[in-house]
């Protein structure tokens, strides 16, 4: 940054900080994420923010200082809104501009100073946007994996009998995941019978039925049997109305009936002790 | 690794070499065991088609990159009789060899991308791609 700009900011350091503090002190109102933050903590954060920002600007670094970066990252990590930081940077730009305008510079000089300042704040904006998008992208991909894993659990209920409850809509990607999980799990648990429970699947159309039939065929190929359970009345209706042929696979209305059938297939039964 | 590797297909054993190459490359690129099997099987089907219908041709395999993903591309080409009616061979159950008729529609289902180019008496080229998930 050129020396004039430097001098102006350094010289008016205190009044910039004061005006900034004044404007930013109102930020807490109306921010839902900050309603449970005490006034003291908020004002302390403000002081830290402006001190580090001021140090960054007056030290004239090309890149963001580790201290300021650390402050940004901490603020985001504890769940403060991103616009606390963006608002802070914009407010800094605005109050500094006011201060510059209060001086007696000619137009060109004033513009030069402002331009330099703007560019240096721009770098900070980029930094924070990059950091947050990176964090969000990570979070999304972790959640996507977690969701996929949650979406097709395989539960061994008796020796050689395993249940896979399906919940939610089934698209092609999920269907592939379900199939792989189902087969790996069936082998791991040495399942002779696998019950697929579709109680939690809201809509069974031709596509979903196709995926379920394929999964059942694959289960048969690896050497286990598949029973489809949780066929609600409306699903039975759609299956027949759509002309979907499920006759190759045993089906039961609910999980209980399915387990009884599975026990029978594995030569077991549950008896009441007299 | 970006180089293209080819196997000439003239006899039944070349089918095995072609799928061995696909198996090795897909493993190297980090495909899941299911996708490795899909790629290997697709190559086997295409190489067998060359052997059965064209007599000779080649299967080329190379790693490919897109904007945000990478994968494996396979080109099976021959200078055989070509395919009269592509629409027909892309129907499930169509077969001229007395096989299961899983053929090309099956290959298409195994892969993410499938394109075919064929002219009668000139030859056939099939390009398939599988992307890393």
């Amino acid at each position: 940054m050129n020396s004039t700009a430097f001098q102006v900011i350094k010289h008016n350091r205190l009044s910039i900080i004061e005006r900034w503090q004044e404007e930013m002190s109102n930020f807490q109102e109306g921010e839902r994420e900050l309603t449970h933050v005490t006034r003291e903590v908020f004002l302390n954060a403000n002081t830290e923010f402006i001190d580090k920002l001021m140090a960054q600007v007056t030290n004239d670094h090309e890149t963001i200082s580790p201290e300021l970066k650390d402050f940004f990252e901490r603020t985001i990590q504890i769940g403060w809104p991103l616009n606390y930081i963006t608002q802070g940077l914009q407010t800094f730009l605005r109050v500094t501009l006011q201060v510059i305008m209060d001086q007696d510079f000619d137009k060109e000089e004033a513009f030069k100073i402002y331009d330099l300042l703007d560019r240096s704040i721009d770098g900070l904006f980029n930094e924070i946007v990059q950091y947050t998008t990176h964090t969000w992208k990570n979070t999304i991909s972790v959640q996507k994996m977690a969701l996929l894993e949650l979406s097709a659990p395989l539960i061994p209920v008796f020796e050689h009998i395993t249940v896979m409850p399906l919940i939610g809509t089934i698209d092609t990607e999920r269907a592939k995941w379900i199939m792989e999980n189902l087969l790996e799990g069936a082998i791991k648990h040495r399942s002779q019978v696998v019950l697929i429970d579709i109680t939690g699947v809201p809509i069974v159309d031709t596509m979903v039925a196709h995926h379920i039939i394929q999964a059942a065929e694959a289960v048969r190929l690896i050497g286990a049997k598949c029973i489809l359970v949780g066929i609600r009345p409306e699903i039975a209706q759609t299956i027949v109305n759509l002309g979907i042929d499920l006759s190759e696979f045993p089906t039961r209305s609910n999980l209980l009936k399915g387990i009884e059938a599975a026990l029978e297939l594995t030569n077991k039964k549950i008896e009441t002790l007299s | 690794m970006a180089a293209q590797t080819c196997v000439d297909v003239r006899n039944e054993w070349d089918i095995v070499s072609a799928r061995q190459l696909g198996r090795d490359l897909s493993k190297e690129l980090g495909f899941s065991s299911v996708d490795q099997a899909r790629i290997t099987t697709a190559i086997s089907e295409l190489a067998r088609n060359i052997y059965l219908y064209a007599g000779k041709g080649k299967v080329c395999i190379e790693p490919v990159k897109d904007v945000n993903r990478s994968g494996l591309q396979i080109i099976a080409s021959d200078t055989g009789p070509g395919i009269q009616d592509i629409r027909k061979v892309m129907q499930d159950g169509f077969t001229t060899s007395g096989g299961l008729g899983a053929g090309l529609p099956g290959v298409k289902r195994l892969m993410d991308e499938f394109s075919i180019n064929s002219s009668v008496d000139i030859g056939t080229e099939i390009l398939i791609t599988k992307w890393l998930r």
């Binding site: 082998i187 048969r220 | 065991s33 899909r38 099987t41 499930d92 899983a102």
Partner: protein, 118 residues
């Protein structure tokens, strides 16, 4: 290369441990049928645990050998089909509905025993 066929009482056991080229597959078909004829075996278990790929040709040879064995009075059970193989077969549209399957050799033998008792 030939696939070894083991005899155990009235059963034949085959574990396919090699890359199946077309000739080996067809040779196996012939060998198995001859062995059924020679031994009068009533049951056959073909274990595919070590097979990592089955294309439509091999699937057809295996499917055919099951039908041919049945004609000769021997029941066949296929065991140990791995998930990647099962999934690719489904993708290819091959379901082998007439082929009895079991998880592993042990359950395959149990299945044969049950079917032969009835």
């Amino acid at each position: 290369m030939r696939i070894p066929i083991l005899k155990l009482h009235e059963y034949l056991l085959i574990s396919i441990q090699m890359e199946l080229d077309d000739m080996t597959a067809l040779q196996f078909q012939e060998d198995l049928l001859n062995k059924i004829h020679d031994t009068g075996a009533r049951g056959v278990v073909i274990d595919l645990t070590s097979v990592d790929m089955v294309d439509s040709f091999i699937a057809k040879v295996l499917g055919d050998v099951v039908k041919m064995s049945n004609l000769m009075g021997a029941k066949v059970v296929m065991t140990g089909i791995q998930p990647p193989v099962a999934i690719t077969l489904i993708d290819l549209g091959i379901v082998m509905r007439d082929v009895p399957t079991a998880l592993d050799l042990e359950q395959g033998l149990d299945k044969l025993q049950q079917e032969l008792e009835v």
